[in-house]
Amino acid sequence: MTVTALPDTDPPKRGWYRRNEIAVTPWLFLAPAILFFSVYVIIPIFQSFSISLYDWDGLGEADYIGLGNYAELMNDRAFEVSLWNNLKWLVCYLLAIPAGLFIALFLNQTVTGIRIYKSLFFFPFVLSQVVVGLVFAWFYLPNEGLLSNMLALVGLGPVNVLGDPKLATYGIILAGLWPQTAYCMILYLTGLNAVDPEQVEAARLDGAKGWRMLWYVIIPQLKPATFIAFVVTIIGALRSFDLISIMTNGGPFGQTRVLSFYMFEKALSEYGFRMGYGAAIAVVLFLIMLIFIAYFLWSMYREEKGGH
């Protein structure tokens, strides 16, 4: 009779955690982030959806009115103006990307004191948006402002940029482009450090220079920087709140509002407190952002797959 060495059917006691360590640990590390992200981001999104179905002043009883707030938005001209302004912001703000790229190319050289020049160009991004807004508001002042005085030198009449309903939004966007360009510049400067000198050398041997060199050799290598610049600029355009608040307060007669500002005015400002209506605007803004968020996530996902 031989005793075959059977495998030990009763392995040494191991705790539940030890047995599942590999599966559980990542979730443990993620837990704080997931908790706070859901409490402060995910849940409020759904709350906004549900509040947008009510007529509520934030104090008394909330009346369920279904899609009433959205129906009202359809006929609200102030909302329409805000929506168009948001679009203007999105389109014009993207100018920061090429502008930032060209300043970066210009500064990407070795000259004595180049670091100082780079810092000076980056300076506007360090300034608070409030300061930028104030400085530009003074610059635009109809009589005393620098702009009007400069125009007077070349014989042009004074313009009241921020008081003119047609120009005001562009005036604010220009103020926003100043720091945003600096931001894109710094992204491209770091990107340019990573450009492969051998490829540039090879291209040069093949006779590429100037625009062709830029377009076919440099810019493709700057793709990661362009992607980040695109992301931060889109986000910057959609949360353009402080400049508007400082420079025009949404005026003249509401012509420079964007969705975020309009939402604030309707729900949280001195005369607001239509929580449901504000939430409905927030939902619309969220849906617009969702388009971009989905695109960013999709391209990041594609990037990761390509990496494998």
Binding site: D57, G58, L59, G60, E72, R77, L141, P142, N143, N160, L162, G163, T248, N249, G251, P252, F253, G254, E265, L268, S269, E270, Y271, G272, F273, R274
Partner: protein, 420 residues
């Protein structure tokens, strides 16, 4: 057994507290939390000194004062009234307090108004504190509105204080012919235009019509409303107002008057202090009541009132009531409203008015030459939402008067929704 003892003990203390409140003695104790929106330096110091005097009278009372930025207060009040209520809070009279009254967040203080000391001396502001036949707080200061003007400029061009709309326009024409704008105004934050609408409407159709509008009973497209705007348009078409006013806050519009580019300012009495600080002497600066437009209409004025309230969720309501009594007493009213402090009008009829020509003129105007009534201000009389849309419309009208039909149609839409 123990718990019944405890309960009766509590009842006893409550009874004691109630009786001590009636006796108005100095046995107040516990904590008294006061929230103030008087964040500007002078009002802040005034309020803090006043609270200190109250504290000296009640040494056992632990007073905790919180001063919140005046603008931030307007949104924070909604949070702290529901969540962490103080015992006393500042706010504004009339429609501005209605949301909190209707939400049950302000304590009914009609009992205070029944006390002879208050009933007899504060009668003039009682209506502004009354909603549904009850009083919801006490006023602590108010101030007149009117036209502050450069007397030296008027003298230079041989002008006198106008009493009628025609005189007002002819004065204005003289000033314009001499390269001086008639009125400075800064409409960036919209409410200043509300003051002009108030006065033009009060003078064209009177107090009762104005209040019917505030109550939503008159369509914005009504011909009478159009009449008010037609009067306004006469001034706009003359070029009476400074250019580009949509860019300026009310403070940024002051230099036009200080530099002599504009001759007058329709404003509240708070404009006097910065004008004096900017170097205008009392010989250069003077005040007149907004002139009559329709001679058949009784004159009525704007006089915004600032108030103290007890939140319903307050914990030390006896001390809070004692504080409210203290604030409106003739003695305190004389002190806090004098020229060194708030520089405004006391709400207590027995208080003394400071020796200041603007306060004296304002007091005389409000007490004897305002038979039509006293309004609060556009954004305090009209519901917040209506006021916000309307003031934006006023600004648009002042910049592009041709848009009037469009503006009125829009306001009418809002009216139909707000007062449904």
């Amino acid at each position: 057994m123990r718990s019944t003892l405890k309960a009766s003990g509590l009842a006893l203390t409550a009874a004691l507290a109630a009786s001590s409140a009636f006796a108005q003695d100095s046995s107040l104790s516990g904590d008294l939390k006061i929230f103030l929106d008087t964040s500007n330096p002078a009002p802040r110091a005034t309020m803090e000194a006043m609270i200190e005097r109250f504290g000296e009278m009640h040494p056992d009372l632990n007073i905790e004062t919180t001063v919140i930025d005046r603008e931030a207060y307007k949104t924070q009040i909604r949070n702290f009234l529901t969540a962490d209520a103080p015992d006393v809070a500042t706010w504004y009279a009339a429609n501005r307090m209605r949301p909190y009254v209707e939400a049950g967040l302000f304590e009914d203080v009609s009992d205070l108004w029944a006390e002879p000391a208050i009933a007899e001396n504060l009668a003039s502001t009682k209506s502004a504190m009354t909603i549904d036949g009850k009083q919801w707080g006490v006023p602590y200061t108010y101030y007149q509105w009117g036209v502050y003007y450069r007397k030296d400029l008027y003298d230079q061009f041989g002008l006198t204080e106008p009493a009628t709309f025609d005189e007002m326009k002819s004065n204005c024409q003289t000033l314009l012919d001499n390269g001086v704008k008639c009125y400075t105004i800064g409409t960036k934050f919209l409410w200043t235009a509300g003051g002009w609408f108030d006065y033009l409407n009060l003078r064209t159709h009177g107090y009762d019509f104005h209040m019917e509008m505030a109550a939503g009973e008159v369509p914005w497209t009504d011909d009478r409303v159009r009449q008010t705007f037609a009067n306004w348009r006469e001034l706009i078409d003359m070029g009476a107002y400074v250019d580009n006013h949509q860019n300026y806050s009310w403070q940024e519009a002051l230099p036009f008057m200080v530099n002599g580019d504009a001759a007058a300012y329709l404003m509240g009495n708070f404009a006097v202090a910065p004008l004096r600080e900017a170097g205008l002497s009392d010989d250069q600066l003077d005040f007149y009541q907004f002139p009559a437009i329709n001679p058949d209409v009784a004159l009525a004025e704007d006089a915004p009132t600032d108030t103290f309230h007890i939140p319903s969720n307050a914990t030390n309501k006896d001390a809070a009531r004692a504080f409210l009594r203290f604030v409106v007493s003739a003695e305190e009213q004389s002190i806090i409203n004098n020229g060194e402090n708030l520089g405004q009008l006391p709400v207590n009829a027995s208080a003394s008015i400071d020796d200041d020509k603007f306060l004296e003129q304002g007091f005389a105007m409000l007490s004897s030459n305002s038979p039509g009534g006293v309004a609060q201000f556009f954004d305090r009389d009209f519901p917040a939402e209506m006021a916000a849309e309307a003031m934006q419309g006023f600004q648009e009208f002042m910049v592009i008067p041709d848009n009037l039909d469009d503006i009125l149609a829009r306001l009418e839409q809002v009216r139909e929704r707000v007062y449904k």
